[in-house]
Amino acid sequence: MLKTAITVLLASAVAPLVLEVKHPAGLDFTLQNSPTSQKYLIETMPGGVALLDYNNDGLLDIFLVNGGRVTNPMQTPESFDRSNPVYWNRLYRQNKDGSFTDVTKEAGLANVGDGNYGMGVAVGDYDNDGYSDIYVTNYGKNVLYHNNGDGTFTDVTAKAGVAAGGWSVSAGFFDYDNDGKLDLFVTRYMEWDTKHSKTCGGEWHTYCPPEEFPATTSILYHNLGYGTFEDVSQRSGIATKKGRALGVAFADYDGDGFTDVFVANDGMQQFLFRNNGNGTFTERGLEAGAALSEDGRRLSGMGVVFQDYDNDGRPDIMVTELPREIYGVYRNEGKGLFSYRSLEAGLGMLSSGSSGWGVGLEDFDNDGWKDLFVAQGHVLDNVEQIDPSLHYQELPLLAMNHRGRFERTDPGTGSPVAGRGAAFGDLNNDGWQDVVMTVLGGSPQVFVNPGGKQHWLVVKLRGTRSNRDGLGACVRVNGQTRFATTAGSYLSASDKRLHFGLGSADTAGIEIAWPSGVRQTLNDVHADQFLEVIEPEKP
């Protein structure tokens, strides 16, 4: 009797670990950001990570973006020594035993060009051939790699016309005109280069805030088909607003069937580009109540996720920021309006002393509510000297969602790091979401979910009239909603499959609103399976 009581007490006192840091064999990447005393801003901003199944073997692979070698000071013309293997981006193929093999060279992804310093990655099947393509953003020229379907990639940037230039950061594929071809949105941070760099903070000698440099425009590329894109930034209205964009996420916030764009800007108002449905966008952040903090203050927007955290069927927005600001939670109230709900959601307690970057809303405990994961770590590598209460290296934030209110739980690591990018997906196909987080100057952290007893369902979309991966679809499962996307977070691309925790339910009802306008319903679907859903050819 006593023994039973003690066991019960112990069980209730020790919360189960939701995530555990693992070190998969073969994943030997180091993010080379190359910090110098010049305090070039690029040094503190990389790098991205993507979870994708590039070879369609059913296992998620990992693509990691590297920075480059920064000399002190930089010479002209700028060279980041990217031909040196130390500075390569890396593709790791997952093996059946959970280990990884570096396939960068054989995949044709070895050298991204000496003039580029790496930032982020976007993933999408832009030519609908069934193989995920990779777009790498850089300080310098961006690169589009076409997946040849045989384990190799080809640099098709020139033909596609998507090199951009300047300082690109997060990017994402989405189909803004519902023509079945994925378009490409590329955020750019500011007008900055190493020649016009400077330091700030007086005696502290540190990185400058974004206000010190001119704002710039983001880029929208329209997919024309046949492997080519057209820059429609001006025509679409995207280029009418200059920002200091770091993050981008997509969802149809007003339910009009067209995917809208949220851009996280650093040190200024956030942008919500409403898709007018005619190839143009109107920036409505202020009018919609999603541009500033509750007190009308500008935010240091960095990462962003555009998913439904309160299970009301409407996509909400979460923006990660610097300390003394609270990560922004903008609840979608319907009718095109958002309300700032950070305090009610518990983010005041969780975030106001931290700096957030990559972010995801994923149901880690499969209870039917999306939980929050944030990669954290301050921008300034000497911030402790300036304010000892702030930290360059932090633990990531893992907070469980209790009916719309988040509560911190053990992130599965006790070692603070300078976290940046974060991508989400089910690495080991056990039905429980995992995370890969990038670390400045270090190895990526792989958070593996040990799982539990709750049920789950993973939906893989296969578009026919819509784009092949169904990006932009709105999928409802047992009262939960996910918007199909690989974009969001910071610099990163997540698994395209849609994961749902089902709690104790062993069956599910699925409703899919495809970007083409087709609606599809599936009833009594068994739980605990990976289900491929093919879009009906006819509505």
Binding site: G296, G348, M349, S352, P388
Partner: protein, 355 residues
Amino acid sequence: MIRALLFLFLAWQTSSPEALQHMQAGAEAEKNGRFEAAIVEFRKATEVEPTLAAGFVSLGQAYLENHDYGGAIAPLKQALKLSPDLRPAHQLLGYALLARGYAAEAIPHLEKVEDSAALGIAQLEAGQLPDAVANLQAALAKRPDDPDLLYYFGRASGLLSKQSIDRLIAAHPDSARAHQAMAENYYVLRQMPQAEKEFQGAIRLRPDLPKIHLELGLVYAGGSQWPKAEEAFRAETKLQPGNAEAAYRLGNALLQQGKVREARAELTRADKLQPEMPETLYSLGKAASLEGDAASAEKAWKKVIELEKESSLAAQAHFALAGLRRKQGKSEEAEREMEEFKKLQNTPSPEVPRQ
């Protein structure tokens, strides 16, 4: 004034027409700003008539006006040798000595003429802080907006305060007050871990000291450690239930944690204790809005605007009202509030700079 007195004095003192002639020439040169010429003339007057105290005073004054404070000292001392009670000589010698850094020597001369401003400065420089504060305060009563006096008074008061605190720390290093004083110093220097440690040290010794929990709470609030801040502010409100700031801070700490109902109750209490505090009203509006009480939120924010007019807090209230109007479907009113917000948006805000 000094010059007029000197000439009255001179009229009955000198017996030499030549000395008088040099004195007049010196005065004329001085009047025209030709101080070096004045020095030459006054020096000749003192050479012609070495017992002429007024001549030495004039010579000293000319040196002072020529910013040659060292040169002024000898003739002024000679004047006092000849005429020990000569007030202008004491005053000018006091200025000259003070300007050359001989504050302690200047003090007796300035005391003679009861020049509270210069005396206060000299006492400050000589480290006689209580007397300096008293004299500078007296001088400020006559010239309340004098920037030099305001500066010296501030400095003297600060040093006196520091002296007292230093004495406290030296004499009673383990006392609660010493810990509190050190904590406050660390807080000003933004050295929060040390401030927290010292405040906790003080609280361990005297948990009933007024304001100390409030101060510790501010350390936690500055670091966004809201549960700890709540605990500290709550302790202060128990000690001082009539302290409106403690109630406001507690309400705000609760609000930051999303404990809306408790926050609203505490902010309402703060508002009753000290009505029309804009910060309290603004937070009260937030709490009411989060509870869905739009009417109370509107009332509180409108009051903020009425009180603050064009401050950053007024801008925030306009922004909050715009959000409220949007939710109510009153888009035109929302637009108007946004326009007001945009007009005021660049008003400097006291928030912590970006780090």
